[in-house]
């Protein structure tokens, strides 16, 4: 069973998507470690280390991820996290933003999959496809 650590990054309290993600991932057969809302990037990385998770799936709904996720590369280098897949989704900018700007930006932070304002099931389907190909 694949393990996923999930939660909402930063001072973001939008909880509805987080609950849905928890339920959907479980229904799809993942083992879920849900850190809930208001989670710092360091806590996410640390939870991946403690659980030896395969996937880190971060949500950001109020757009502040731009501020937090830059440090991903740095935190990632603190541990030997080779095989973890990094996924982020939700509203990844404050205000209007083009997919063609957002996606490369988050990829440069170290995310493998980026879903800006993409419906959850579409995103999770793609994530599962990605994981199958990876194996």
């Amino acid at each position: 069973m694949m393990k996923v650590v999930t939660g909402v990054v930063g001072n973001d309290i939008h909880v509805v998507a987080n609950r849905l993600i928890d339920i959907s991932l479980q229904a799809r057969g993942f083992e879920v470690f849900n850190l809930g809302v208001n989670t710092s990037l360091e806590e996410f990385i640390d939870a991946v280390v403690e659980t030896d998770a395969d996937i880190l799936l971060i949500s950001s709904l109020n757009g502040e991820a731009e501020g937090w996720c830059r440090d991903l590369q740095f935190l990632r280098s603190e541990y030997e996290l080779k095989d973890v897949t990094f996924v982020i989704g939700g509203n990844l900018a404050v205000g209007e933003a083009k997919q063609s700007d957002i996606i490369p930006k988050y990829k440069s932070y170290g995310f493998d999959l980026v879903f800006h304002q993409i419906d959850l099931n579409t995103g999770l389907d793609e994530m599962e496809r990605y994981m199958r190909e990876k194996q």
């Binding site: 470690f33 360091e42 806590e43 640390d46 403690e50 659980t51 030896d52 603190e78």
Partner: protein, 397 residues
């Protein structure tokens, strides 16, 4: 027949009977037992051994070194449990940095190793064993993933293995480790020449004082004029302890206990006076603060009654400063939510209410930029400690 409660501190001994509390300065030329017998022998003879209860902070408590896999879970959980068991943390080591980490120069009473949820293996390897070769320790306990226990046990024969403190939901499971650490404290007392004779006075278990204070916290708001969330600041001769409601912290620890404890080992007014002054001189607010109190920094070098008061006031300020947002290295308490500050310990024998209020209002105005102060409660008669002692006995029964 009523009970006799005794607290042996690094500077004072307090004795509590139904008729009230009396306290005595410790005579450091005598060992603790002789000192007590000389001063309170008559009182002891009026009670049965079963009715005498002792707690002590005189032996400084146990020291621990914690090695953990991450800051947010392993180390945070283990630190929390260790503090709440009344133990002093010498150092913490993040496992990914263990090869660059120095070993503590002193003998450590207990090493705690933690990391990983159950089900994952190979978290710990030879790196840990190599590091431990450099450490001098008396006890070692493992509370990490069950899968690594046999590997570690094989190489560390005197290792105690307890259940994982990190649950499968990434919550904290502290009971077994807490019990282990509390028992170790007992074993330590028995091993210490100075204190073990105290068992000639009492037939009951001797606990550490901070543990007793921590036990009283759930009952404080019902017994005193205290509104939640509150902190209890216990400023003693050697250390300063702060106990706080968990409502004041924003972190990921989910535990049944509503109250945590932090220790500032080097902020005492007698035994660690030097380090207190050092911390004060390095604080950005100190000169403004001294001016506000109408004294100059020369007072810090004096040996007067007045100097002692100023030191006590400084220690209140420094403790609050250390848990405030300005010092992110320590636990950060949301002091703007604080409703009550309770002061207990030796400080209540030195400072009066106004002297405490002055310093707290300086802190809130200057550091927090707010004018509304939390309510200040002075525990002049060690009522908190009495409450903790009484409740601990009840649970024993």
């Amino acid at each position: 027949m009523s009970k006799l409660l005794i607290d042996v501190g690094s500077t004072y001994v307090k004795v509590c009977q139904k008729s009230g509390i009396s306290q005595y300065f410790r005579d450091f030329k005598k060992d603790i037992y002789d000192d007590l017998i000389t001063k309170c022998g008559d009182i002891f003879s009026q009670y049965k051994k079963e009715d005498i209860f002792i707690c002590s902070s005189a032996n400084g408590g146990l020291s621990t070194l914690i090695i953990g896999l991450t800051n947010s879970f392993s180390l945070k959980f283990a630190k929390n449990i260790a503090f709440n068991s009344g133990i002093n943390i010498i150092d913490t080591i993040l496992y990914s940095k263990i090869e660059e980490s120095k070993s503590p120069g002193e003998l450590v009473d207990v090493v705690i190793i933690v990391g990983g949820i159950d089900g994952i293996g190979n978290v710990f390897d030879e790196k840990l064993l190599r590091y431990l070769e450099k450490v001098q320790y008396s006890n070692i306990v493992y509370v990490g993933t069950a899968q690594d226990a046999s590997f570690l046990k094989e190489h560390l024969p005197n290792l105690t293995v307890l259940s994982n403190i990190i649950t499968h939901k990434l919550h904290v499971n502290g009971n077994e480790l807490k019990e282990y650490l509390t028992n170790l404290y007992q074993a330590d007392i028995v091993g210490k020449e100075d204190i073990k004779h105290l068992y000639e006075i009492t037939a009951n278990q001797i606990y550490s004082t901070p543990y007793i204070v921590n036990r009283s916290l759930p009952f404080i708001d019902a017994n005193f004029d205290v509104v939640n969330p509150f902190i209890v600041v216990d400023i003693g001769g050697a250390t300063t302890d702060i106990h706080y409601s968990r409502d004041l912290v924003r972190d990921n620890i989910v535990s049944e206990s509503g109250y945590d404890r932090l220790v500032f080992k080097k902020l005492g007014v007698f035994k660690s006076r030097e380090t207190l002054i050092y911390a004060a001189k390095n604080n950005e607010f100190v000169y403004e603060l001294l001016a506000y109190l109408n004294v100059t920094e020369n007072i810090l070098e004096e040996e007067s009654e007045k100097a002692l008061r100023i030191l006590m006031q400084l220690s209140i300020f420094l403790v609050l400063y250390k848990v405030s947002r300005l010092n992110p290295l320590y636990v950060t308490l949301q002091l703007e939510l604080l409703k009550t500050i309770v002061l207990t310990g030796g400080i209540t024998k030195v400072l009066n209410y106004e002297e405490v209020e002055v310093i707290i209002s300086f802190f809130y105005k200057k550091v927090m930029n707010v004018h509304a102060l939390p309510n200040i409660v002075m525990d002049y008669d060690y009522a908190i400690w009495t409450l903790g002692m009484e409740n601990t006995q009840k649970e024993e029964k």
